[in-house]
């Protein structure tokens, strides 16, 4: 039997004004197990807390019920007071007789009666309370950043600068991501390479940063502070430690016709390649789909010319196991495929290109060395049509329902730069809405119209038809003039919607991080916790959380880093003790609880049980990881055998409250 102390608070006249507090403490003093009952003006004051502490010592209390304001207000205050008097803090229960009684009722007898019932319910619950211990788990002081684009790079640099080790895992042969393919960046028109490549070099040289390029996350186990990750280093058939990046091999390789993915297939590379001149790490990679040596053992030229002896045709995938305290997801985006948009003729004409392809066509390091030429005949285009919202804001099922957010601005940039370099070109932009809410963004867009004379037309393109003479017939509506336009264009640029990288979905499953229907990672709270995943220890950086331009990505990357640093700076994490617990003797291993757990906190163990006939039997039973469980209790209801219960809100405790409330007379 518990020895319970009841403390009824007046809260000045807030409670005492409508609740007869003396009657309440008197009535509750007769409840079973109550050995001490008192009322006092302000229980939360220093003197009030001392009353609790003294009573715990003097009366050897094993449980405390405070009838006062909402537990959301002072539960912690009283738990701390109890703890300082040597009582387990989870033996304290609060009966809410202010917000949910005295403040909403005017009639004193009614309010007093209700206060007594609420007090009884709390007493009934305390009878079944058990001391709970907040667990501790250590924090491994190393972070993993998945994805080496601008988001991942910035997060890694910020974490490393705070003094913590960071690993970047990048699936491509080099870090840098999409930003390496861009020409200039809005709204200031800095050259992308000029601002990105120094950061890539910083990453490579930082003593706290370790880059796993051409690698993928294979397996994730563990929980916040204590993740165990298996990283697959894909075979690149070149020894990274030996390769100097001199480029001798890439110049001599006889296989020349490999589509160059860095230039989106608009020119070719060799079978052994370095994606671009400023690649980090600057190490060659052999493409096994094209290399003659790997396909049929006939060549070996690169190994012959390599002075460093770095070529290794027998290299295998390697698996590295590492431990981390925090994981940052920075998997980024890709433009969508345009198979569903035949009306724009992307597959029919080489001169219908995506905006990312346009970036490469205007980039000095691109296939045309920065001169804007039509991909079909290499001639200078005189009329260019830009189409916005290709696949964005599309609820018909062909594209994406959301706004891709970056297209308005880069299209304004493309149009502006085209007019600047080639004033003899006519540039048309077809838009539905121009969305330019960033700092200096609207001014930028207006400059394209007012200074550079780009023709912005409100309307959509309905059809692009390639003509035999190479011209593209663009049929579009001009909604403001109320006309249908027919433009003979030389080049059509599609502002293609962006979508999360394909690797994000399997990664989310590995991390048990939640995603929305578009495969963007969901944040813990849309406004207040925008860079954290609901899964503890997983953080989000960049476009994996939603479409973002570079300024937003960099600020979010910094914010994610700050959250990671805050986590890694702790030596130990205290865990919430009110978590689910499985009774192994009752569990039948059916997996119902695992299916409803939003955090992946439940695993199954094969455990040996001693049977009544002295034999042993191995059974599969559920086991809750208290560091991962957040204590929602979904599993406790799903469990068909009643083996799962929630500490602090157990079945018997809530039943006792129900009984106490219903037994009023």
């Amino acid at each position: 039997m518990q020895r319970i102390g009841v403390f009824v608070c007046w809260c000045g006249s807030n409670i005492a004004g409508t609740v007869d507090v003396k009657a309440v403490s008197e009535a509750l003093s007769h409840e079973p197990g109550v050995v001490y009952s008192i009322n006092y003006q302000y229980m939360c004051s220093e003197a009030g807390q001392n009353l609790v502490k003294d009573a715990i010592r003097d009366y050897n209390l094993t449980g405390v019920v405070i009838c006062s304001c909402s537990p959301r207000m002072h539960e912690n205050t009283f738990r701390k007071a109890a703890a300082s008097a040597g009582l387990n803090p989870y033996m304290v229960e609060i009966a809410n007789i202010r917000e949910q009684c005295s403040w909403i009722h005017k009639d004193m007898p009614t309010a007093t009666e209700k206060a007594i019932i609420l007090g009884r319910a709390a007493i009934a619950k305390v009878h079944l309370n058990a001391p709970l211990m907040a667990g501790e788990s250590p924090v491994i002081k190393r972070a993993l950043v998945i994805g080496g684009g601008i988001a991942g790079i910035q997060t890694a640099l910020d974490i490393a600068d705070a003094g913590f080790e960071v690993d970047i895992v990048e699936k491509e042969p080099t870090i840098g991501g999409k930003m390496t393919q861009l020409d200039k960046t809005f709204p200031t028109l800095d050259c992308a390479a000029c601002i990105l490549t120094p950061k890539m070099v910083d990453c490579a040289q930082h003593e706290k940063i370790n880059i796993f390029s051409f690698s993928e996350v294979e397996k994730v186990k563990g929980f916040v502070g204590n993740f165990h990750v298996t990283i697959k280093k894909k075979a690149r058939f070149v020894d990274e430690t030996k390769c100097t990046g001199c480029g001798e091999c890439t110049a001599k390789c006889p296989v020349k016709g490999v589509p160059n993915e860095f230039n989106l297939g608009m020119d070719n590379r060799r079978a052994i390649y370095i994606p671009f001149a400023q690649a980090v790490p600057k190490v060659a990679t052999i493409d096994p789909n094209y290399c003659n040596m790997l396909k049929n053992g006939k060549c070996g030229l690169c190994a012959k010319v390599c002075g460093a002896g770095a070529i290794d045709y027998k290299q295998q995938d390697q698996f590295v196991e590492r431990e981390y305290g925090a994981i940052v997801v920075a998997t980024g985006f890709n433009p969508i495929k345009l198979d569903q948009f035949d009306e724009f003729g992307y597959s029919q004409s080489k001169d219908v290109i995506t905006s990312l392809e346009f970036e490469r066509l205007t980039n000095a390091a691109g296939p045309t060395s920065g001169t804007l030429l039509r991909p079909s005949d290499g001639k200078h285009p005189h009329t260019i049509v830009f189409v916005q919202c290709v696949g964005s804001r599309d609820t018909s099922g062909c594209g994406k329902t959301y706004c891709s957010r970056i297209c308005c601005m880069y299209t304004a940039k493309h149009a502006m730069l085209t007019r600047e370099k080639y004033p003899d070109t006519d540039v048309y932009v077809f838009y539905i809405d121009v969305r330019s809410p960033g700092k200096n963004y609207d001014e930028f867009y207006r400059r394209a119209v007012e200074q550079y004379g780009v023709h912005y037309i409100k309307g959509m393109v309905g059809k692009v038809a390639p003509r035999a003479d190479g011209k593209l017939m663009v049929q579009a509506s001009d909604l403001i003039a109320g006309e249908q336009l027919h433009i003979e264009a030389d080049l059509v640029v599609l502002a293609t919607a962006i979508e999360p990288d394909k690797t994000a979905r399997p990664l989310a499953t590995m991390l048990t991080a939640s995603m929305d229907t578009n495969d963007f990672f969901t944040e813990a709270h849309a406004k207040l916790r925008p860079v954290e995943s609901p899964t503890a220890g997983i953080f989000l950086s960049g476009a994996c959380q939603g479409p973002k331009d570079i300024p937003d990505t960099v600020s979010q990357a910094g914010a994610a880093a700050a959250k990671v640093i805050g986590l890694l700076a702790k030596d130990k994490l205290t865990t919430n003790p009110c978590v689910a617990e499985s009774n192994e003797l009752m569990c039948n291993g059916c997996s119902s609880c695992e299916k409803v757990c939003p955090y992946g906190a439940i695993t199954y163990l094969d455990k040996e049980f001693r049977m009544p006939d002295r034999t042993t039997m191995v059974r599969r039973v559920a086991s809750v990881n208290p560091a991962v469980c957040q204590g929602c209790g979904a599993c406790t209801v799903a469990c068909p055998s009643g083996a799962m219960d929630l500490k602090g809100f157990s079945n018997s405790q809530i039943m006792a409250e129900v009984d106490a409330i219903c037994q009023m007379k």
């Binding site: 959301r72 403040w103 309010a111 209801v637």
Partner: protein
């Protein structure tokens, strides 16, 4: 009037999610919005913590109405808990209806932490509905019978 019959006072149990409707109830209090004292709130971490057993127990012990309040769909603190609650309660309530406990005596409502007024209005409406139905038939716990 000596012969006046004592007005029927229903017993109502409200299960409230700690993150939204319990805070909504607190807000109703802070704003001094009245609702009948017949409603007694039990705090749970999430609407999905509410086992159908709790509701059956309440009816066994003579409750006249049970209401479950959770976060609005999509706003669950634990991401998906309220969806589980919604599904479970749909099943439970139709079974209770079959057993003779009217659908009006059971209810699921979504009340956010900012909706103090909605909380009070919901409780007023629910108490009125249950009062109109009168005293509930008590579910019998056969284990307790001879």
């Amino acid at each position: 009037m000596p012969n006046e019959v004592k007005a029927f006072k229903p017993k109502i149990v409200a299960f409230c999610c700690n993150w939204c409707s319990y805070a909504g109830a607190d807000l109703a209090g802070t704003n001094r919005l009245n609702y009948p004292a017949d409603v007694k709130i039990i705090r749970v971490p999430c609407s999905c913590r509410v086992n159908p057993m709790f509701i059956l127990r309440a009816f066994q012990r003579g409750a006249d109405g049970v209401i479950l309040c959770g976060c609005h769909p999509g706003d669950c603190h634990y991401t998906t808990g309220n969806y589980y609650a919604r599904r479970r309660m749909t099943l439970l309530f139709s079974m209770l209806d079959y057993l003779g406990i009217e659908k009006e005596r059971t209810r699921v409502e979504w009340v956010s932490a900012a909706e103090g007024a909605k909380f009070a209005a919901t409780m007023n409406d629910f108490v009125e509905t249950v009062t109109r139905l009168g005293e509930n038939k008590r579910l019998e716990d056969l284990r307790c019978k001879e």
